[in-house]
Symmetry: C2
Subunit: 280 residues, 2 copies
Amino acid sequence: MNPVQDAEKQDSPSYLAGQVAAEVMAGSMTAFGAAEATTSTAMCAVSCDTACTLCPAYNLLCGGMSKEADGGLSPLPISGTLHTIPARRLILHPKEWSEFVPIVCSGWAMSSIALPDGRRQVISFLLPGDIVSVGSLLAPLSGHTVEAITEVTYRKFKRQEIKELLFGRVDLLERLFTLWNEAKARADQLALDLGRRRADERIARLILRLSEKVAKRSLVRTQTFDFPLRQRHIADATGLTPVHVSKILGELQRAGMIEISGRSLTILNASELHRVADWR
Amino acid sequence: MNPVQDAEKQDSPSYLAGQVAAEVMAGSMTAFGAAEATTSTAMCAVSCDTACTLCPAYNLLCGGMSKEADGGLSPLPISGTLHTIPARRLILHPKEWSEFVPIVCSGWAMSSIALPDGRRQVISFLLPGDIVSVGSLLAPLSGHTVEAITEVTYRKFKRQEIKELLFGRVDLLERLFTLWNEAKARADQLALDLGRRRADERIARLILRLSEKVAKRSLVRTQTFDFPLRQRHIADATGLTPVHVSKILGELQRAGMIEISGRSLTILNASELHRVADWR
DNA sequence: CGGGCAATTGAAATACATCAAGGCGTGTGG
DNA sequence: CCACACGCCTTGATGTATTTCAATTGCCCG
């Protein structure tokens, strides 16, 4: 049994509880909501072309044909081109006004803004199924650098084709509004975190956010997950220096809340970590 | 000659250079772009009903009739209700999912997020013509507190009416997307400022941003402008404590860059202030 | 006139940055 | 296969930015 088939059999509670599942049930699954909410992460890394049949974004953007014909899904006339890029390489240059919108198929990337003197702030980490910038769907958006953290495969779509598709379907537009609001809410929360929380809070929250994000995508919630970030990524996301990140990660580990080894992270004491993070 | 007529005669370079002016020229002025970009601030404070005939938002949302019939403008079937609220009172509660969208007609307000323990972060200051939250136009958006800083008059529109209007006109939708992207870009810049800039930089930048915002609205660029913010507002916007804000404002004044007296601020040495702010 | 909010100022505390050195893993070229 | 360089992480010592605490003043408003 190959990994893809294995994944197809997955039918975990966390998946059913997600918004995407809810929408499938309601027979009104939409392109970007689905793309944002969940996709088949691990499998994409192995074989994107096969695995994408599981990815909601594929069915709507990659030209795939839905198998549940009765559910109201129909094939969409958009297909992007697939690209692979090694770790540390740029996917989008800050000065570029591209006519394309990339969607991550496998691997981790990050979107950041930089100052001339080198200081920079990570705005969001991008995992499989993430649209590189929701705002860039309808108008080119400059200033952000998008960089691959691991090796990344992604699909590039012509903005013009996406626009034509979206304007033709009110349901997709509605879903886009929701996505946009979610992105804005995350940006506002980020500002709150950076302006008003201390280092340990920020780092604990980042870990918890990433853990939830990964959980949504892998369809199972495990205490251990893939964690390819370097400490300088964490530093740039939390507005700290790598040195200080190291010290605080050390404390969290010595306190038995988390363990980082190799390129994976384990949450050992979730409730303590939630407390430090001042979660919800 | 009354102030309103006076303002109409104003034809300053800074106004002509703005995007709104450009759109008027092109004969395709749209509701929200205009509302966001500029309006007749000072006059609104005096007499909103009169002055709103100058406010782009009025022509499109308040049911006003455009005087340039040839320009492609037409009266829109939406009218909001006018409200007045004293300083320090809430316009929108964080838990509220209102069916209304307010637009500021006069005065200053602020939109912020708060933590249970009282820490809070100002996301944006709202001046006349500003939609209280662009994201809330199409879906209710919770979590933000909107508070009047000075006495504020504002118009409340039914979200449902706005939605119907917007979906019927692709040109308005396009403009809305642009507005969204601008709001998102500001949120991202805020994160960069909070995460990666030092206190003096943040404060200098805030002052310059507000100065530009006021200039757009008053149609004239003066060195002195109305500045009703208390130091705790600046603190909450820059992620600092009021004490520290006081110290840095003191330094900026002693260095001869600005002067704050009464409720107005004067930029005495713009180039030095730009340098401190690391502007553009 | 009193009371409370706002601003200023100085002293002390603390959170975070910077600097510097050493270890560890990984890829690379000899 | 080894030596080596390089990036990454760790750790301690020191420096600095910002907060906290506290006292004082002015001001507005009732």
